[in-house]
Symmetry: C2
Subunit: 309 residues, 2 copies
């Protein structure tokens, strides 16, 4: 095998009450990357479509994550890489994470002794860091593992793969506004009430139990974010209106994807997800907001191979 | 059936990172109560052993919980009740909750149309309120449901029954000091850092996942309470020493049971639980602290019938 085409999915992080710890993978939307094994060590980015990104590996998420892995494993070969961005940068569904997770997954296919998902995530985080300013696994982990991932620790990195109820779909809407991750961080309070902290932990615990038992009512009642959403929603005009629209039209949970501006609605079944998409598209229009939308199952799969030669 | 003898187990609430939401039932230690159906409405407490408690129903947890249920269901009969307290009052393993949960469970056995565990918990909470000052389900819920219970909401009351890994044991030590629940409440901060709130929620999520997957390592790594223990441990002299002793001798998780002074150690298997008990008993002695201890599986069962006539 000399050449491989990899798909790396868009992901939703900060899943409501799972702020900073819970993410999941989407299907249908994702970046593609072609890796060609070459004798020269290192990463050479030969083509980029879909976004205006640096070709210099040390300035590119793909290059940084890929080089971190190559150097650490001390491989005596390298890769030419084509990057085909399909996930819009800054849309809040893990664009940089898909690039970072995709390259390390791709490299792993060429190894005699492939490394673990946990190690892949750690290398992917190196790339994520140059895009977002800090090493975090919120989007990289679901991109690598697929399904729902829970980050239970960073030192050492510890990730739990959670089950995905069979019929769980998600509707994404992306209003065309810009939110800077830095601003989204700055708007958060440093202190919260103990009462709300406990409420949030109980909600997340309920959500986790709901995933294990496929209890959609429990998932619905548990997905209340009392710590972060009350602040971050102020960065998205008409957030409450979109939320109400989603929940009144078949959605069971609603929240900001990552640090926004995309918003996700969890639904039981593709039909409800479709209804929510129609309702939210109309809601965007009503507020004279440009935007796009799509629906997807919560994907049980992360990165995958599309083609190999 | 005219007479019934009921066992209602001791329980552990505030299970580490599950402060205020997670509890579990013990086995072997619990109160017993005899209920005799009589034509006169209401509750008449005819005998109390093991503790100095009021016979006046409106001043007794058993009476208050029982009357709440009898009045609400408008039953045309009543009960004579003997209360045999085996759980020491104020020891932190749900003494009042066992009384409250036991009476409503007992009454339920005499109904043509028994009510649900959720309703029983709600009535039990009425009794708990006169002992602890507020209606809470922390101990009543595991006493009624058995196993681990997660309280996901109070309005409406919502409880999730969680699975118990087969080999999960607990060692309880009870140093003979007095902690007032009020004082234990007062020592808590009103505000906590957002960072710690997120850490706690991730820990609880990990613990829940660990229970579903019987992953003892995950249970061990997740049971870190960063919100409450740092404050409440100051009410228990030598807490850190007991904790270290427990974790070094086979314990996987350690924490304050309820608002103390009892402390619980979760262990994989009865052998480790025994080792921890020996080590902690020695630790108490070393600190010249009077106390007692026992080991139990985390019980899958709550209240139960011992005898009926």
């Amino acid at each position: 095998m000399n050449e491989i085409r990899v798909f790396s999915p868009a992901t939703v992080a900060n899943v409501n009450c799972g702020f900073d710890v819970l993410g999941f993978a989407l299907d249908g939307l994702g970046d593609e990357m072609v890796l060609r094994k070459v004798p020269e060590k290192g990463i050479k980015i030969t083509k980029i479509t879909g976004a205006d990104l640096p070709f210099e590996p040390k300035e590119n998420v793909v290059g940084v994550a890929g080089l971190a892995m190559l150097n650490s494993l001390d491989l005596d070969f390298g890769f030419e890489v084509e990057i085909h961005k399909k996930i819009r940068l800054g849309s809040g569904v893990g664009s940089s994470a898909a690039s970072a997770a995709g390259i390390v997954y791709g490299i792993n296919q060429f190894l005699e002794r492939p490394i673990s998902n946990l190690e892949l995530t750690a290398f992917g985080m190196k790339g994520e860091a140059i895009a977002s300013g800090n090493e975090h696994a919120d989007n990289v982990a679901p991109c690598v593992y697929g399904g729902f991932t829970l980050i239970t620790g960073y030192s050492p990195l510890s990730i739990v793969s959670l089950p995905v109820p069979d019929d769980l779909y998600v509707t994404i809407i992306h209003p065309q506004i810009t939110i800077k991750t830095k601003e989204a961080r700055a708007i958060l309070p440093k202190q919260v009430s103990l009462q709300n902290a406990i409420k949030q932990s109980g909600n997340l615990a309920g959500l986790i139990a709901g995933l294990y038992t496929e209890d959609y009512e429990l998932i619905a009642s548990s997905t209340q974010d009392v710590l972060v959403e009350p602040y971050r929603k102020n960065l998205i005009p008409n957030f409450d209106f979109y939320k109400q629209t989603a929940l009144e039209n078949g959605g069971i949970s609603f929240g900001i994807s990552g640090s926004g501006p995309s918003m996700f609605t969890l639904c039981k079944g593709v039909k409800d997800a479709g209804n929510v998409e129609v309702a939210l598209t109309n809601a965007l229009k009503l507020k004279n907001m440009q935007g796009d939308s799509y629906i997807s199952p919560v994907s049980k799969f992360g990165n995958r191979i599309l083609e190999q030669k």
